[in-house]
């Protein structure tokens, strides 16, 4: 079994279903937390700060940020639960421990978590999409494909976060990942502002992050500027999943396999 084919294994979907069952019990609070916060930032920056200027060559700040925030919502939704939630499920709640006494492969557990983060990204991102379309910031029917891209991006964001949750010694150390990786990724991901004034080396780093490519796709879908390049961006993220997925394999196995 390899970590990519594991995404399609029946047990992965059972792990997914386990998270869905648990989530259903506190769904509303979870939705609120994941939507209200980005939405508050979006309103404050987009309409508050954005009222004073517009971006040369890109129009209003709020219009620029709207698709970017889809990427941000996906990143937040997937990263937090894949890191914090998975750590809890593995270490405190013994969820994985009982799964591996049944014939569940550790890679199926990881895949189930990736699928679950894909669902979270798609759900929260789509809710955000509905909100911004209410503000008239969505300009194309291509936007209907956003949930698919949100799910793909969610997997790409979940893999490193889950990896970190398997590496850290205590839950608090997860903040290293949030502060040193996730947050900077947002800053250079083209969420808030265009990157064409960035120095080349910083742009090169941005190019290596999945968020940068996902945001480009969301922008094309929301603005209706879809081209072959958009397809290439999607391929980049898919390829990243294919490569990233192999990195945590040995540490997942060392913790959960015999």
């Amino acid at each position: 079994m390899n970590p990519v084919t594991a995404l399609f294994a029946p047990n992965s979907w059972r792990v997914f279903r386990r998270n869905l069952l648990a989530w259903q019990k506190y769904a509303w609070s979870s939705v609120a937390i994941n939507i209200v916060e980005p939405f508050a930032y979006f309103l404050a920056l987009g309409f508050g700060l954005g009222a004073y200027f517009s971006l040369t060559g890109y129009g209003s700040l709020v219009q620029y940020m709207a698709p970017g925030f889809l990427g941000l919502t996906a990143l937040n939704a997937a990263t937090f639960d894949a890191a914090w939630g998975c750590y809890e499920r593995r270490v405190f709640n013994g969820v994985y421990e009982s799964m591996v006494t049944a014939p569940v492969d550790p890679l199926e557990i990881a895949s189930g978590e990736y699928l679950w983060q894909a669902f979270r990204s798609a759900l929260y991102g789509t809710l955000f999409l509905i909100v911004i379309s209410g503000f008239g910031l969505v300009h194309s029917w291509w936007a209907l494909l956003c949930p698919v891209m949100l799910a793909i991006a969610g997997i790409a964001f979940a893999i490193p976060a889950l990896f970190v949750s398997f590496l850290v010694k205590t839950q608090e150390h997860l903040f290293y990942y949030f502060s040193f990786v996730a947050t900077p990724m947002v800053m250079i991901g083209g969420v808030f502002f265009p990157l064409d004034k960035f120095p080349h080396w910083l742009l090169a780093i941005a190019w290596l992050t999945p968020l940068y490519h996902a945001v480009k796709v969301f922008r094309a879908l929301v603005m209706g500027t879809v081209s072959w390049n958009t397809g290439l961006e999607v391929l980049w993220v898919l390829a990243a999943i294919g490569v990233f997925a192999f990195i945590p394999v040995s540490s997942i196995k060392s913790k959960l396999a015999n």
Binding site: P10, N11, R14, R17, R18, L21, A22, K25, N93, G94, V95, E97, S98, M99, V100, T101, A102, P103, V104, D105, N258
Partner: protein, 362 residues
Amino acid sequence: MLKRRNKWRIIGSWFLLPPERCLRRLAATRYGGHAKVLPGSLCFKRESRKPTMCAMSSIVVNARSLTKRYGQIEAVRGIDFAISAGECYGFLGVNGAGKTSTMKMIYCRIARTSGDLSVLGMDAARDASRIKQRLGVVAQENALDPELDVIENLLLYASFFGITGKAARRKAEELLELVAISGKERALVRELSGGMKRRLVIARALVNDPDILVLDEPTTGLDPQARLLVWEKLTRLLDGGLTLLLTTHYMEEAARLCNRVAVIDEGKILAEGSPEQLIAQFAARDVLEIVDAEGRLPADIHLNGLVVRRERHGDTHYLYNSDNRILLHRLAELGFDPPRHVARQATLEDVFLNMTGRELAE
């Protein structure tokens, strides 16, 4: 359904067993499935550790010079044992003796460092997934999902064995009834008492109709009533023909449930046999505990051969002998009438403490 299936399993397996084992199985079924081992029915002579009376096909777990090392720490230091279908085999030992490591190797949670280990005829390292399919595991930590309710815990676990839909629900309800937590289907796990949680884990371990139920300290931390209830359920499973493999540091538990016990200490098996055999071998039938602060107890160690072994812990003397009445009579003849004494039968605890040292290891 569970009962009927197991009954057929018992009857069916009789054809494969030599008469010796059939008798024993019959005795086990008839007398409550424990502690009634017929004389001479030990499957393995302890000296040779080679199968003598059992058919090879009935051996479900077989370990040869099994070791487990964590870095510098040697948790299991070359142990041999073989467990037959339908018996209850217990590992008796204090914390850190290597019981849990041994169990984890059997249920394929950790890999052995060296030696051989086969479970249900399959290699524990190579065929982990196939072995897990046929095992029921009650780990030391309950590991119930606190975010799911009782029935969801069972259904999710069943789904990992490919048991879904109506079949899974029927199975779950049947098992909840078996362990006496019916009516709590929608309760969250954290709302259950310790005993209920343990019984739920046992129910969960049975969803796949396992061939072996592996229990790591099934009653540790439970109050006496909850413990009794767990014992009752386990006895029932044993009567149904299920093979049980458990660890415990309660002598009473081992004596009550197990046909055979391995006393394990510092990663080694010190002795193995039926509870009665162990008592006969390592302690005498009776124990006379005498508190003697003044040192008036006759110094003649064996008291003319009446006392098999003699130990002292503080002011308390332990005289292992074959009959307390005769010994007390003899002591009276010698002019020593012990003011404070306890005359009792030897227990597994005596065996255990004798072999591992009377002081607690920790």
